[in-house]
Symmetry: C2
Subunit: 343 residues, 2 copies
Amino acid sequence: MPRRVTLKQVAARAGVSYQTVSKVINGKAQVSPETEARIWEAVRELGYRPHYIARSLRAQRSRLIGYSWPPSPPDQPNPILDLFLQSMFTAAEEAGYYLLCFPHHYGERQIESYRELIESARVDGFIVSSVEFDDPRLAFLMEKDYPFVAFGRSNPDWDFPYVDVDGAAGMVKVVNHLLERGHRRIAALAWPEASRVGQNRLDGYFTALQRAGIMPLDAWIARGEGRFDFGYQATLQWLDLPPDERPTAIVALNDVMAIGAMRAVQERGLRVGVDVAITGFDDYPLVQYLTPPLTSVRQPIWDIGQRIVSMLVALLEGQPLQERHVLVEPELIIRASSTGPAG
Amino acid sequence: MPRRVTLKQVAARAGVSYQTVSKVINGKAQVSPETEARIWEAVRELGYRPHYIARSLRAQRSRLIGYSWPPSPPDQPNPILDLFLQSMFTAAEEAGYYLLCFPHHYGERQIESYRELIESARVDGFIVSSVEFDDPRLAFLMEKDYPFVAFGRSNPDWDFPYVDVDGAAGMVKVVNHLLERGHRRIAALAWPEASRVGQNRLDGYFTALQRAGIMPLDAWIARGEGRFDFGYQATLQWLDLPPDERPTAIVALNDVMAIGAMRAVQERGLRVGVDVAITGFDDYPLVQYLTPPLTSVRQPIWDIGQRIVSMLVALLEGQPLQERHVLVEPELIIRASSTGPAG
């Protein structure tokens, strides 16, 4: 790194006092236009890098990364938020950036937030998460050709840099685990078809069953909002199926549906992990403390945050991306909800 | 609001073209120092407000609020993070501000983060949460006389603007609820004495018992890290006390200790809410789905986020504060863990 030019050198070059330079650069001095011009000229010639703001004015760079995310419904935790943010803040700080966080809006106003931040030169780029098919934020940023990195994929024919969890690989691990324990009738608590993440995870369910030569009954796929009540109600219906159709295992695409399924099984006097195996997805911190503890799939969130920021910083600094599309594999955490008390 | 000065007016006054003004203001033009000085002079005379960055350079204002918080341990959720952030982002945006979020560091480096943000004029003020006694962040910001608002109180003799939850009032509600249901032997899962929040909540426990003429046994107060295992182990010990000392109710200062207590009670073959009443604090989204659902205390987090930001904005804009110290009362949410199946 070249040695930093000092304010003193700028003052000497401009032929004014140190205090005058400092005041002008900090916008606090009323000096003649000529003096001000001479100071800025010296700043430019010497390559002095003053405070962030003055620097930004010259470089049109804010060294801020914009990030916004949809809030979780009040009865549901966001399983990754704290770790994901901390990881991104840390990676950004190491590269000399900070995150500017802004509220999530719906409809037209969502895009307006992005537009305002671009037009006011507030941020140099964006991180976008909770990505869906036809995501209007991605469409807008691609059209504007403004730098961003997404946590998640979108339409297959849209090309943009992303990091994503291989949800299908995670579900393959879950279903293989259940197959190994002898389960053949495995039901799935899924999201509506429009859900990009849900579709990806469900693909893994079908893939693993197909490899095992099992064709799931239509009745084993329940689609709904990923809430407790949906998991609870769908499970009650499954428990009413005739014995040869009744699932012996239930895989949920998130933890909170799995918790609903556990409640339904327990209310019927059955034992979770013994009579019916249940698994979740996300490995929310509290699920290890449920009775029984919940088998789940853990996403390497710290790693994802670090990679997303380093990709975006590379884009902002004109460096080549090592990888433009990164898929990370999640980890299966096996607990008693799928194995019974023996673990 | 005064009518906005246009770039065109600036160009006319400086006697240069619109394009030149635009380029100079955006740091993209190489014009003579004299021309540049003339343009900035016109900008100043007319009061033109260019892009945020140029404006900040003149006004020394970034319209950014700095916020950092300690990450939760991996086995514990942060019960308020998402809602608190969304509330603050929304209030800030409405006032024309954004949040700049930065990583939490420990030791000396923690203060360095604050110092850097001040010295680089990155943020106009701070929001500080997870406040403790002798909090070094507050000490530093008070010494620097830099604007901030805290979520939480600290040393009684430190005077700074804050919003806090009245944790003592919350615990009084919990204990009164248990007293009304006939409990007389009520134990508490508490934090170490150094915990400012823990001390406040525990005060409410003592206050309510004292009002009822009950002197709690020393053995009923267990202090430790607010984790599942601590709640679990302490409860096992209580269940081993002689019948006339054994608690019939357990109040925990957070939800995760309460969940540990539930596990211990259930492992001994006792029924939570029937044989032993258990209550938590924070009303974490998932606790309504436990078996049985957990009685807990809910903090009005959205309201707190809004108030903190509006107080800080008032400080930044030189307006008088309506209230400098705001205490909000939390709400008791009664569920089956303290009442049995009848609710």
